[in-house]
């Protein structure tokens, strides 16, 4: 994954990732899922409990030795024993999985450069612009002759056909159509 995706999955900005890596004396962070799992917990402990990054890393490393399904991982006790910091590791794992999924699917490449100004963009006829871009206008005109329900039914049929052509590994049963 990219650094931006990594940062998104640990709920931080890229600068925080850089600074945390420097604080932990890591010359390079591997932007992997495993590291995201670790950095996400370091981030949570340092942001929500104001624990310094180096100390948070020690606590995170000890917590991550436990099974992800663990609901109560005791991280830290106050010196007088009056307070205990307990981590719901299963909840953390659930949150991280959701963030990681979004980062992988929605944190894709950004459009390079500055966006064209709206005025300049509108100078050209959008139909000519689309044709130049390679859009098949005859298909669009055909689609517009259909009702929305017919368009969605056609999409449903096409997607079902593609699923037959491109079976992919899934951890859950293959989705039904519609």
């Amino acid at each position: 994954m990219t650094r931006a995706q990594f940062a998104q999955s640990v709920d931080a900005d890229e600068k925080w990732v850089e600074n945390a890596a420097a604080a932990l004396n890591l010359p390079q962070v591997g932007y992997t899922r495993k590291e995201a799992y670790r950095f996400g917990l370091i981030r949570l402990l340092s942001r929500d409990f104001a624990i310094p990054v180096t100390r948070a890393a020690i606590l995170a490393d000890s917590a991550l030795l436990e099974l992800p399904s663990e609901r109560e991982v005791r991280l830290k006790s106050a010196d007088n024993g009056n307070a205990i910091l307990v981590l719901d590791l299963a909840r953390y794992s659930s949150t991280l999985a959701a963030r990681l999924s979004v980062a992988l699917h929605q944190g894709g490449p950004r459009r390079p450069g500055r966006p064209a100004s709206a005025d300049r963009y509108r100078e050209r006829d959008p139909i000519i612009r689309a044709a130049d871009y390679g859009v098949d206008l005859t298909l669009l005109r055909e689609e517009l002759r259909l009702r929305p329900a017919e368009r969605l039914a056609r999409l449903d049929a096409n997607v079902a056909f593609l699923r037959v052509l491109r079976p992919v590994h899934r951890s859950i049963p293959a989705p039904k159509t519609s």
Binding site: P68, S69, A90, R91, S93, S94, T95, L96, A97, A98, R99, L100, S101, V102, L104, H105, Q106, G108, P109, R110, R111, P115, D125, P126, I127, R129, A130, A131, Y133, V135, D136, L137, L139, L140, R141, E143, L144, L146, P148, A149, R151, L152, A153, L155, D156, N158, V159, L162, R163, R170, S171, I172, P173, P175, K176, T177, S178
Partner: protein, 157 residues
């Protein structure tokens, strides 16, 4: 999926590729993107439906615990999920548009698969696609803008 969500009285607006297809885009998409109302009762209903469909974060190896409940929505209001009914992306806010109520105000009602549901209208969809700054959304813009121009030209005839 749309039928299941509507039956469960979940308040949502269809956005993304499926909205584009409803407006006439020829692009194939196999996930349902929706912007949901973040009020408590609606999130409870949405999470219950998704839990019944065995929702799990898409692209994540099985084995990690995952709780599909209202608390999960509070910590991760945006999720990309695989379910036994299909792929679904849930969003609390649409970039460039706002939350559910802003999206609903810029939506049209369509009926398909015997279900009536709100779909982000074409001008708003274009605004949203432009606002994300993502390459894959930018690539979709020429087609959507041509569709808008053709639709307006057709309505004048």
């Amino acid at each position: 999926m749309l039928g299941g969500l509507v039956s469960a009285e979940v308040r949502f607006v269809v956005v993304g590729g499926l909205a584009g297809a409803a407006h006439g885009s020829g692009r194939l998409t196999d996930d349902l993107d929706l912007c949901y109302d973040v009020t408590g009762d609606n999130v409870e209903r949405l999470s219950a439906v998704l839990a019944a469909w065995d929702a799990y974060p898409r692209g994540i190896d099985p084995g990690l615990p995952f709780f599909m409940d209202a608390r999960q929505f509070r910590t991760t209001p945006v999720m990309t999920l695989a379910t036994r009914e299909g792929y679904i992306d849930v969003l609390d806010i649409i970039t460039g548009i706002g939350g559910y109520h802003e999206a609903l105000a810029q939506s049209v009602e369509f009926t398909a698969f015997d279900t009536a549901f709100a779909v982000l209208d074409l001008p708003a969809l274009i605004v949203a696609k432009r606002a994300t700054g993502r390459r894959k959304d930018a690539d979709h813009l020429p087609e959507l803008e041509a569709l808008l121009a053709l639709t307006r030209a057709n309505s004048k005839e």
